[in-house]
């Protein structure tokens, strides 16, 4: 008879072998994460670029022309269309040919020359209100700068304040610096979940689970033997994406690698616990797939990745305390960009220990209850 550790080791070897010998399984472990990473890294951006605007310039003076010139010169506005009727603005916005329309009135230059406040109308597509607000910010900045210059020339400078805007941790607000660190957590979670939640369900459906049960392995040993391979794969996946992020995408990593490893390990434990729990309560593969899905969509949506947690209603913010991904994303962004200290990492890691412990316990309980 082998010892308990020996039996568990044998099961781990068996698990890893079944995963890698099955060509379909291999493909699923490797291809989707890489594809997702590429698509997410390039597509997932809330930055606003390649902006299309419509300009209706009724002004014949120099100021209107100068503003048009400056807008055209800005790299953000790549597509500028001129219209000569007010009625042409609505269809352009309605049909999403442009996100903004700038209307310069007839007496624009005359007002400026006369020292009256000139008005400039900007119409924005509220169907895309987030992008529209950012576009409005760009336009306002360009025009305000021009206004300040006019005043400087006139010598009538009103008190003005220069705002020295800086963005710490990510000076140019590159969205990719936000996306890729988050992906380390999201993709590692997806893989660890799929591997664990399906492994038991598939064995059950194929009937090989009964073979495991008649082996000398104790239920707890089966649980441990299922956990460890999934943890290994989850960590490997996380490190793979971490490597690609800093090498291929040039994302800075300012924090400590050991801290990353520590937090990743505990996060994956919590994820695997959840996966085993889903596995323990589902009877078929289909149920396991659906269960994984039902956990994954809210976990990603309520993690601060798609939208900041602080924008949610207060009661929903409380719900996110149960979401392991939420904690880990704070740690990841902290370690990549902010050189977070051990103390701050720990603040966002101990809740994962509780989540992991609880799910593992529940999984074990359901598991043994099912067997008896």
């Amino acid at each position: 008879m082998r010892t308990s550790a020996g039996r568990i080791f044998a099961l781990i070897v068996k698990e890893l072998l079944t995963m890698f010998r099955d060509p379909k399984g291999r493909v699923i472990l490797i291809v989707p994460p890489i594809m997702q990473m590429v698509v997410f890294a390039f597509a997932a951006t809330l930055e606003v670029k390649n902006i299309s605007v419509v300009i209706y310039n009724q002004d014949t003076g120099s100021h209107g022309a100068e503003i048009v010139h400056r807008l055209a010169g800005s790299p953000a506005f790549t597509d500028i269309t001129f219209v000569d009727r007010n009625e042409a603005i609505r269809p352009a916005i309605d049909q999403q040919k442009a996100i903004a329309a700038i209307s310069i009135p007839q007496d624009f230059s005359r007002d400026i020359e006369a020292g009256r406040a000139a008005r400039l109308q900007v119409i924005l597509d509220g169907r895309r209100s987030n992008a529209a607000q950012i576009v409005n910010g760009y336009i306002t900045t360009i025009i305000t700068a021009y206004g300040n210059e006019i005043e400087a020339v006139r010598g009538t400078t009103q008190p003005s304040i220069r705002i020295d805007g800086r963005n710490w941790f990510n000076e140019n607000l590159l969205y990719r610096w936000f996306t890729l660190p988050s992906l380390v957590g999201i993709l590692a979670m997806m893989i660890a979940l799929v591997v664990t939640s399906l492994s038991v369900a598939r064995e059950r459906e194929l009937g090989t689970f009964d073979q495991l049960l008649v082996s000398p392995l104790m239920p707890l040993e089966i649980l441990v033997g299922k956990t460890i391979p999934a943890v290994i794969i989850g960590i490997a996946e996380g490190l793979l994406i971490w490597t690609v992020a800093i090498t291929a995408f040039g994302i800075p990593f300012k924090g400590s690698f050991l801290l990353l490893l520590f937090a990743l390990f505990i996060f994956i434990m919590a994820t695997v616990g959840t996966g085993l729990f889903i596995s323990a309560i589902s009877k078929t593969q289909q149920q396991a797939v659906l269960g994984t899905f039902i956990f994954m969509v809210p976990a990603v949506t309520l993690s601060g990745y798609t939208a900041p947690v602080e924008n949610m209603p207060l009661w929903l913010q409380k719900v996110t305390y149960l979401n392991p991904l939420k904690y880990f994303l704070i740690t990841l962004k902290g370690l990549f960009l902010k050189d977070m200290s051990f103390h701050d990492v720990w603040t966002n890691t101990w809740p994962l220990l509780i989540i992991g412990g609880l799910t593992m316990f529940l999984a074990g309980w359901f598991f043994t209850k099912r067997l008896e």
Partner: protein, 372 residues
């Protein structure tokens, strides 16, 4: 025809008797709408910032009031920026605004070099750009008030930008996110559910018994399609009701136009599901393909959250392959703008072409043969 109705009756009965299809079609949309409706909010209504006042004079006191009265900012006051640096690292605040020591003196002397420093948390790029924009806004408004107090009225600013956000004047991101999320839900129902259910028939061998009957392959496909189509329309109705009644999203289009757009989209989604199931013939593989080829594109490449125009060119081209992109645009337009026919017809035509391609491929792929 008689055979077709018999098939439809069989499929309908199958749907009605299988509780899991019902859960996916009606319970899941509610859960997802709930999560997207409350969890995904891009409006940073109250951003927490730290305001460092190094210079305590009546002048700065009024600027501080301007900040604390802003409805977009939640301000914490301090004397030294070091108090806030750690808060910025752990994400308790998203920006630090510093009113420097010589602020009032510089203002009084009009040296032209009055600086205000804004430090935003670049690890959250979207929030950071809002911190910069809001600070800019507060300062501009404050300057104007100061000028007015001193009796220099409207001339204070040579150019005034008057932004107007059409179709979503209150700038609620929920108004465009919730209609967009309906497109994701319909993708799940159309593609994921059909792919899973039909691949189960292949896996269990019930497809073989269908082939032994005299029905043609077109009849089998139609027999599958029609009941799921009806179910899709049913769940669309549910989503629209929740959207307008619970979330107060306006609906400015007409219901026939909504029905038309939904029908065309459902054709494409069901077609994709059919194709996936006849390629995969195995539930696990089918669910993975559906996740990769339908769900993720719906989330990432549809313009639901991330602006398509801001993506790199190759990815922008890729988005045209997915019908969901056109459905998101149609829904956002129907809900917020109205029946913009040129845009709607363009979208529907594109979805129709995509669905034709799927059906052509499916009929080629599905032969009445068992070896394929």
């Amino acid at each position: 025809m008689r055979r077709l109705t018999a098939l439809i009756r069989k499929e309908t009965r199958q749907i009605l008797r299988d509780p899991s299809t019902f859960l996916i079609a009606f319970l899941q949309p509610l859960i997802l709408l709930f999560i997207f409706g409350y969890g995904v909010n891009l409006d940073s209504n109250k951003i927490r910032i730290g305001l460092v006042v190094e210079d305590n004079t009546p002048d700065t006191a009024s600027l501080v009031r301007a900040f604390t009265n802003s409805r977009f900012l939640e301000v914490r006051l301090g004397q030294d920026r070091r108090e806030f640096e750690h808060d910025l690292v752990i994400g308790h605040i998203r920006g630090i605004v510093v009113i420097p020591q010589d602020f009032s003196i510089d203002m009084a002397l009009q040296t032209g070099a009055v600086n205000l420093q804004v430090i935003a948390d670049g690890a959250e790029p979207n929030i950071a750009s809002f911190v910069q924009n809001y600070t800019f806004g507060v300062v501009q408004v404050w300057l104007q008030h100061e000028a007015e107090d001193r009796g220099q009225s409207a001339a204070a600013l040579p150019i005034r930008v008057l932004p107007r956000f059409w179709y979503n004047a209150e700038l609620k991101s929920r108004n465009f996110l919730v209609p967009g999320s309906i497109a994701i839900i319909m993708t799940l129902i159309g593609t994921m559910l059909t792919a899973l259910v039909i691949s189960r028939e292949w896996e269990r061998g019930t497809m073989e018994s269908m082939m032994a009957t005299p029905v043609t392959i077109t009849q089998i496909l139609l027999g599958k399609l029609i009941p799921y189509f009806v179910m899709g329309i049913g769940s669309m109705t549910l989503c629209t009701l929740v959207c307008t009644l619970v979330y107060d999203v306006p609906f400015r289009g007409t219901y026939p136009a909504l029905l038309a757009a939904t029908s065309v989209f459902l054709l494409a989604a069901l077609g994709q599901g059919l194709l996936i199931s006849s390629v995969a013939k195995d539930q696990f593989v089918a669910s993975q393909i559906a996740l990769m080829a339908a769900f993720l594109p719906a989330l990432m490449l549809s313009g639901f959250i991330f602006e398509i125009h801001s993506m790199p060119r190759p990815i922008q081209l890729l988005t045209h392959v997915f019908a969901v992109r056109y459905f998101v645009t149609s829904l956002q337009t129907l809900f917020l703008t109205g029946n913009v026919w040129p845009l709607l017809i363009h979208c529907m035509a594109a979805m129709l072409v995509i669905s034709m391609v799927f059906f052509a491929l499916t009929t080629r792929k599905t032969k009445k043969r068992l070896d394929a």
